[in-house]
Subunit: 135 residues, 2 copies
Amino acid sequence: MADEDLGALCVRVTRRLIDAERPLLDARGLSMWAYVALTHLAEAPAPTQMALAEQMGYDKTRLIAILDQLAEEGLIERAPDPEDRRARIVRLTAAGRARQLEAQADIRAMESELLDGLSDAERATLREVLAKLAG
Amino acid sequence: MADEDLGALCVRVTRRLIDAERPLLDARGLSMWAYVALTHLAEAPAPTQMALAEQMGYDKTRLIAILDQLAEEGLIERAPDPEDRRARIVRLTAAGRARQLEAQADIRAMESELLDGLSDAERATLREVLAKLAG
DNA sequence: TATTGTTATACTCTATAACTATA
DNA sequence: TATAGTTATAGAGTATAACAATA
């Protein structure tokens, strides 16, 4: 028989990446999902927490505890939307943006090292193809 | 800023693959980990359950319940090793091998469909690079 | 004393439903 | 009535330690 299932292969690669990311994020005082939240907020503030949860592919009820802690650390702000007082607009603070950039730099460095043995063409194809498959 | 983190990309692709696999495995009466176990056993019988667990990247204590059910369904056999009566050699039955092949065929078909828009070269590079990154 | 398989226990993560305040 | 945020609860998944049998 031939190759390993593509799914199994992706699981192994993903697990390896996550295992490598975890200590880097720990050192910055961020959980994996806190980092994901900061990264999405770095693109643009979220009009509602629900929108942020959906964007992250995460559950809105679990996101709350994450945002609570990020707010407590001063990395994000939750401001009531003046036009819909049910909603809370979520945005990074300056400290939050700084923290996100630091963590992302660590992660990018780790990824570069991991991709060290690949050619530029292989790297480009990898990203391109994964982006397609991610849908 | 530039691209998404490689890790985030892999998480999304992996999640998509798993979401697509789950209903296929459900239809064959297999959990994800049961399928992983059958697939590893299809390569070769396992000399011990611990060896199988390690090969799968799974926990030996959780594997037991999986193997219990697979044995109850007649898909695997656990025979005491005559040379070390602590150990139990695990191997597929004919039914187990058949079930694994059916499930794998379903999964391969799904994967082919997912890769439909890619060139042969892209597919080859994807597999090759992922295999390298999987370590 | 160390190892295989097993069981038990505690802990975390996840999913679901219900509550409040607004609309 | 429907939605955003929140809280509570139950279930699944996970990690750890302890036990019996064998080496």
